[in-house]
C-alpha cells in the first residue's frame, strides 16, 4: 500500500509540474515548486537549487525556505562542499553522515549540523554532457537514499534543468549561458524587490517574498516581471 500511495504522490507531483509547463510559464516559480515537491516526496527537511553564474560560481536560485539559515548553509557551499562536488563532477553526491565528515568541508559541516541536517544528497543539473548546477536535499536523519528515491530526485532535477533552460534544443553554449544568466538575474531582481517591499511595508523579507509570489500568481505574471514592477515603483504591495 505504501508504494501505491507513493507512486500516486509522485505522479501527482509530475502532473502538477506538467500543468505549469504551458506556453508562458514562470521558470522561477516552477523551480520553486520543484524544490518544494522534492522535500515532500523524498522526506527531506529542506532543499535548495543552485546554478553556476557566468564565472562558474554557484548561486542559490531557489530554496524551500526563505529563511536566512537555510540559505546560509547553501551559501557556505558555494565555497566548498558536496554541492560544488556534485556540480563539478556532474555526478550525484551523497553524504550519509554530515557530522562524520570531519574536516573535509568544515564550514559546510558546521552550518548544516547547526540546522539539524544530518545527511545531504546532491543531484546534478545536466544538459548535453555539461553540468550547470545542483539540487540539494537535506534530511534530519543519517543514511542514504534508496534507488527509487534517487531516480525521483534526479527526475525532479532534470525537469528543473529543462524549465530553467526553456529551449528544448540547445545548440550553442552561448544560449545556455544566456538562459542561466537570465534565471540568476531574475533571482537578484526578486531579492532587491523583497528588500524594497520589506522596507516600505515594514515586513520581513520572507513575508515580502510571499506577497510577490501571491501577486504574480493571481495576476498571471512572472515573479521577474512582478519584482521589476516593484523596483520601478509602478507596483506597491
Amino acid at each position: 500500500m505504501e508504494s501505491i500511495t507513493r507512486a500516486s504522490r509522485v505522479s501527482a507531483a509530475f502532473v502538477k509540474i506538467a500543468d505549469t509547463l504551458v506556453d508562458e510559464y514562470d521558470s522561477l516559480d516552477l523551480v520553486q515548486t520543484l524544490v518544494e515537491q522534492s522535500v515532500e516526496l523524498l522526506d527531506a527537511a529542506a532543499a535548495g537549487l543552485m546554478i553556476a553564474d557566468p564565472n562558474g560560481v554557484l548561486q542559490v536560485l531557489a530554496s524551500t525556505s526563505e529563511e536566512v539559515r537555510l540559505v546560509e548553509v547553501l551559501q557556505q557551499e558555494t565555497g566548498i562542499g558536496p554541492c560544488i562536488d556534485c556540480y563539478s563532477t556532474g555526478a550525484p553526491v551523497t553524504v550519509r553522515d554530515i557530522d562524520g565528515t570531519r574536516d573535509r568541508w568544515p564550514a559546510f559541516r558546521d552550518a548544516a549540523v547547526a540546522q539539524g541536517f544530518r545527511s545531504v544528497h546532491a543531484f546534478p543539473l545536466r544538459v548535453r554532457g555539461r553540468s550547470i548546477g545542483a539540487m540539494n536535499l537535506f534530511r534530519v536523519g543519517t543514511g542514504e537514499l534508496n534507488a527509487e528515491d534517487i531516480a525521483i530526485g534526479q527526475a525532479l532535477a532534470d525537469v528543473s534543468t529543462i524549465s530553467i533552460l526553456q529551449e528544448r534544443t540547445i545548440r550553442e553554449s552561448a544560449v545556455v549561458n544566456e538562459q542561466l544568466q537570465r534565471a540568476l538575474d531574475s533571482r537578484i531582481l526578486i531579492e532587491q524587490a523583497k528588500g524594497m517591499l520589506a522596507y516600505t511595508a515594514d515586513i520581513d523579507t520572507a513575508e515580502a517574498f510571499q506577497r510577490l509570489r501571491a501577486h504574480a500568481r493571481s495576476h498571471n505574471a512572472t515573479l521577474r516581471d512582478t519584482a521589476r514592477a516593484v523596483l520601478d515603483r509602478s507596483l506597491s504591495l
Binding site: D53, N55, G79, A174, E191, G195, L231
Partner: protein, 223 residues
Amino acid sequence: MSEPEPPDLDALCSILCASFIEALPVSGVALSAFSGSDRETTLCASDALAARLDELQFDLGEGPRWEAASTRSPVLLPYARSMTHDRWPVFGMALSGTDVQALFVFPLLVGAMDIGVVELYSTTPGELTESDRATARSLADRAAWRLLRQILVPESGDDPQAGLAPSRREIHQATGMVLAQTGGTAAEALLLLRAHAFANGRSVRETSEDVLGRRLDFTPPTT
C-alpha cells in the same frame, strides 16, 4: 573579516576588454563601468579611437551608449556611416570624421543594477551574426558579474570564498531597502552601501545586515 579596500577596476576592465576583442570580429572595444553615475566611472579601451567614441558621447551627453544604458538593451548600428542619426545628431556628425563603420553597444546589467556599458566598433560595415550577438551578450553578462564581484570583494584573487559576495542575498535585499530609502537607482544604492562600508571599515555584507536589521537607514534628512 578583512578590511575592504577600493577595488582595482582598471586591471579587471583591461582583461574584460580583451575577452571581447578575442571572441568577436570587431576592431576595438571600450568598457566603462558605472556609466549611470559620473561620480565613479572607470573606462578602459583597446585603442585611442574606442576611448574617443566613449568620451565623445560622455561629453555630448548623447549617443548609443546612453540609449543602451537607459533602455537596458543592446544598440546595434551595423551601418553607422550610411544611417541617419536622429537620436544623437552631434555624435553622428562626429562619427563621420572617424574610421568607424559599425558600432555595437551592450549594457552590463545585474538584476536592476546598471554596471556599465561595453562599446564595440568595427572599421568594416556589416551586422554581427546571430552567433556573434549571443557571444557578445554572454561576454557582457560575464563582465557584469565579474565587475560586481570586484566591486563587492576587492581582494578577490583566486580565493573561492570571494565568489560568495554577489550571491549573498542580504546584499541585494539591502540594495532594495536603500533604493526605497533614497529613491535613486539600484546601482547608486549599491554604491552607497559600499561607500558606507569603506568609510566605516566594514564589509559590504556587514553593512547590508545593518540595513536589513533597521540599524542603518539612508533616508535623506528632510529639509
